[in-house]
Subunit: 622 residues, 2 copies
Amino acid sequence: MKEFDVIVVGGGHAGIEAANAAARMGKRTLLLTMLVEQIGAPSCNPAIGGLAKGHLVKEIDALGGLMALATDNAGIQFRVLNENRGPAVRGSRAQIDMDRYRIWMRTALLNTPNLEMAQEIVDEILVKNGKVVGVKTNLLNEYKTKTLILTTGTFMRGLMHFGPVKLEGGRFHELPAKKISKSLENLGFKLERLKTGTTARIDARSIDFSKMDLQPGDENPKPFSFRTDKNTFNPEQLPCYITYTNETTHDIIKSNFHRAPLFTGQIEGIGPRYCPSIEDKLNKFPDKERHHVFVEPQTKEATEYYLNGLSTSLPMDVQDAFIHSIPGLENAKIVRYGYAIEYDFIQPTNLKHSLETKEIEGLFFAGQINGTTGYEEAAAQGIMAGINAALKVEGKEPVIFRRDQAYIGVLIDDLVTKGTNEPYRMFTSRSEYRLLLREDNAILRLADYGYELGLLDKQTYGRVLKLREEIEKGLKILNSTFVTPNKEVNAKLESLGEEKIQNKMEIRKIAGRHTFNKEKLLEMFPEFKEFSDEALEQILIEARYHHYIERQKAQVDKMKEMLSVKIPEDFEYRGIPGLSREIVEKLEKYRPTTLFQASEISGVTPAAIDILHMYINMRRKK
Amino acid sequence: MKEFDVIVVGGGHAGIEAANAAARMGKRTLLLTMLVEQIGAPSCNPAIGGLAKGHLVKEIDALGGLMALATDNAGIQFRVLNENRGPAVRGSRAQIDMDRYRIWMRTALLNTPNLEMAQEIVDEILVKNGKVVGVKTNLLNEYKTKTLILTTGTFMRGLMHFGPVKLEGGRFHELPAKKISKSLENLGFKLERLKTGTTARIDARSIDFSKMDLQPGDENPKPFSFRTDKNTFNPEQLPCYITYTNETTHDIIKSNFHRAPLFTGQIEGIGPRYCPSIEDKLNKFPDKERHHVFVEPQTKEATEYYLNGLSTSLPMDVQDAFIHSIPGLENAKIVRYGYAIEYDFIQPTNLKHSLETKEIEGLFFAGQINGTTGYEEAAAQGIMAGINAALKVEGKEPVIFRRDQAYIGVLIDDLVTKGTNEPYRMFTSRSEYRLLLREDNAILRLADYGYELGLLDKQTYGRVLKLREEIEKGLKILNSTFVTPNKEVNAKLESLGEEKIQNKMEIRKIAGRHTFNKEKLLEMFPEFKEFSDEALEQILIEARYHHYIERQKAQVDKMKEMLSVKIPEDFEYRGIPGLSREIVEKLEKYRPTTLFQASEISGVTPAAIDILHMYINMRRKK
Ligand SMILES: Cc1cc2nc3c(=O)[nH]c(=O)nc-3n(C[C@H](O)[C@H](O)[C@H](O)COP(=O)(O)OP(=O)(O)OC[C@H]3O[C@@H](n4cnc5c(N)ncnc54)[C@H](O)[C@@H]3O)c2cc1C
Ligand SMILES: Cc1cc2nc3c(=O)[nH]c(=O)nc-3n(C[C@H](O)[C@H](O)[C@H](O)COP(=O)(O)OP(=O)(O)OC[C@H]3O[C@@H](n4cnc5c(N)ncnc54)[C@H](O)[C@@H]3O)c2cc1C
């Protein structure tokens, strides 16, 4: 029987990153997936990144993952969203060519050392003494493994809804994964149902683009990956288009609510709150006059367009009718109808922060199976599961990012401590430390990990170290050089259209003005001329948001303290109000030494941790 | 309900050509297929063309089809097989990049005027009064149509065998088409089973190519399509490799015969005689010491290799073991296992020469569903079904190629007159008129049809007409110019290393010598210097094979005569020995006016036609 250190089930966005990370960390890794051709298939919209999602992509990149590189290679439009707002809430987004993205990913994996791949469906998880030992596939092959990462996406007992039509499958006309659900149930996991949906794809020739607004890519597109050469990055860009629903659209849909699987009870799973279907939007916001529709090319040949904003599982005739009511889509021909899909997921409260299940050693879950939605959320979990499975094989502690270190940390902490009852997606608002966790500093925050783990190459890491040095040097100049309000200085300021100064102050205070920018900095303080653009960007952000950043850093210190709070050895759990008997019994059994350890015990809720924290503090004060 | 002139079911090689032809002939056409991404997927080996198959591709090209163009665009190695043998048995073959081939085909179809596409599975064929009227899909959509072309390939009740494992599906991990089989049965068709198989795909990195022989592409690769510009055609070519099975390989396989689905009775369908699985080869030729294995890249990234010659449905452990016994494959890692597949087909004797079914008007079958095997055979039927469905809509007579006109004619004539009990593939030996039906003159033979039907563009057709003129002019020179055995002539011949002549003779006789070639022709008869290479090629072939070609043309005339033999109006069928009562009844009912018409009647066998021919002749002589 073939033996592996890490087996990854599923070649979606989570599985790709998991397999790549584990293999590149030197572990003998096997990726089992349904269709090799569909590795990296974007099930839904042909785009990577976006608000908060762009952050995840850049964090994955800093750790040495693949998503950003694939996007740079397959991208057909690049935009920075919220470009004119603060750096904390900017988000990079790219339209991708769905063919090239898959080809790039497949090729990358088939060139990854230590990684093997086989086109088989995992039917059964083999466990011995509470530890995962292998899998059995639909070809009756058995593979032994030390760790197993499940990334089954929307495939477990996938059930699609096209109006009244129900079809089994993990995606339109792909197979479902059924036996593995049973196997998980046999292992004691409770499977719950969620739902997501997608829109119709339209034959490009049937669209009248002249009735739509043009949405071109950025004039100076920026790559996602720190490893992509900025200077030679020059992708051929295609435009997207914008159109709107209208009263007629809404009338057609509303008058068919009684036929919507979402409302008739046909769909039982809960859908993504922030990515709702059009029928859901009209139901929840009946007075909104129109909704955006983004019309996005699926490949560089642009033969089919994706209607972002029109996810639906309404009957086919209704889809035809309401799409035809939208300007530019009057004669639209649907190549693939929109649909909803319900699938099994597992409450992520079953997981430790490492993404290993609490109950079965060596078994990890990542991606949609944990109740998330989105390629980037999946990939972020994937890379962490891959890293932690590899570390587990080495007998090492897992890497766990705190909420102040990475959006990845926020994502996983939210999932494993709170669980979810609806598809979870990332938002910048989920982060308490937004100003610390910027897209632009992802590489500075996480490259140490990427490099230490062996995922980020030395040369790239060298570039990061150099950048960091530059920034430090720059900040030192900002903070330790003072400007006095003399004639020369004020004349300069005036010539730059800046207010004069009255008091002596650090350069930082001038550089941090919201009217200040790179050009002015270089003009005024020529010592910065030798700095790289990347460094200057960081220096200016640090200057402008100095106080906020300092405040968030202080909050972080408090949080760190809380998580590391030691539980006294003889701490008495019994009698603490608010702790259930079950929780008390578990705590007595495992006797965690820190609050963090306590939070990792299955069944110990975040609320219980808060209560414990309070009582430990009270006891200390006594 | 949406209405079409032609609906094509299936986006395989047959469906692509059918849809393209019908739409380009101005018919409102709809292509319904399972997965838009899989349009044009090569189910088996990543190659187009080969002996006799190359002929088909060039004939399809002459008719304005897509296969040759796609191959030229996605090809990663081009070779002419049998280059050193006669022009009749040469065959062009190309390795293709499986990704680019699919993308090219999908893009071409989505840019074809009058052609719509929808990702739906056809479950039911709607028939009224013996005429096809529409289809119903798995999304419960109904589409009305005047004609319907089924090209379901290996998908109808597809059942795959991997050793003991049986999986339903049309290809590895794709869905089967089940309901449509039932629908065909309800319409009175008898479905039979055939079987085909494929080999394992190997991770490129696990192959030791140094132990294999190199098989590079031709140094001066020639495109398939007459429409591809020869002068700029310059594909990047990848090598293939050759290795061999050996005694150990054979021992492993033979000692596992008892586990082979082919021998245990698990597989019921009959497999392709000329493309057998390795276990079949070892069973039938137990003494052969070794078999060729061609190791072919699947894409230009060459991450996976296809093992041509090792088709198998042996259990997975046996596949691993016997592959590892082959030089260069000792450490081979299998990404996808080989398997056999059984599927429904329909005896093509149910069809007229137009590929329309005899029983249901407007219903056409093309491709693997008719009992053939091979992409090229499928595409050839596809284009004819597309053309004839379009003509039917126009109320015109179908285009039917005689056996002397095209391999396509041979293929269809063989199928509809003889039926098949095993997967039918094309060979040059199937053609009685091989010297007339060459790859090199496909464009000359069929371009008139392509142009007349509106499938071949005017410019291309203009080039064909010019070429034809040149050839005629050249042949006239050859046949009407005489050389006399004078000093000058013989000195020239001697200087070219040619035998001298003793008698006066046409240039043709010298040009036709098997030692003669283009260079010598130009040297000796400078009047040919103005001729194009293409024309010279034809001229030399016609010269060399003059007598054979003339003889075959005479045979053709006889055959034509036979097919057009008129049946006297008052011809008495009763009492002719050898005609069954059923046949007599049908003939009396339909009263065909020619033998050809008689042959198109369902149930009237080729043997019956021979008998009729004899009796008509006898009656004439009386
Ligand atoms: C119809 C639809 C609509 C969606 N809409 C949205 C949306 O609007 N917004 C959004 O953010 N996200 C959406 N998504 C979700 C998004 O596609 C997923 O979040 C993302 O793809 C999850 O990545 P993953 O790696 O977890 O799983 P997937 O990308 O689903 O990949 C799972 C992989 O596992 C393989 N697999 C599954 N089971 C097995 C098994 N037993 N053995 C072997 N292989 C197996 C599958 O073949 C597949 O390759 C949608 C998904 C679908 C299907
Ligand atoms: C495992 C395997 C091994 C093979 N080995 C060989 C070989 O060794 N040599 C050889 O020459 N040939 C081989 N072939 C055969 C070759 O692939 C076929 O001859 C060729 O692909 C037939 O083309 P087609 O267009 O008839 O069908 P296919 O290429 O099979 O295409 C059929 C299409 O129809 C679609 N479809 C089917 N039913 C429906 C429906 N009800 N509704 C909508 N869409 C539908 C499918 O999705 C598919 O797109 C093999 C095929 C397979 C699967």
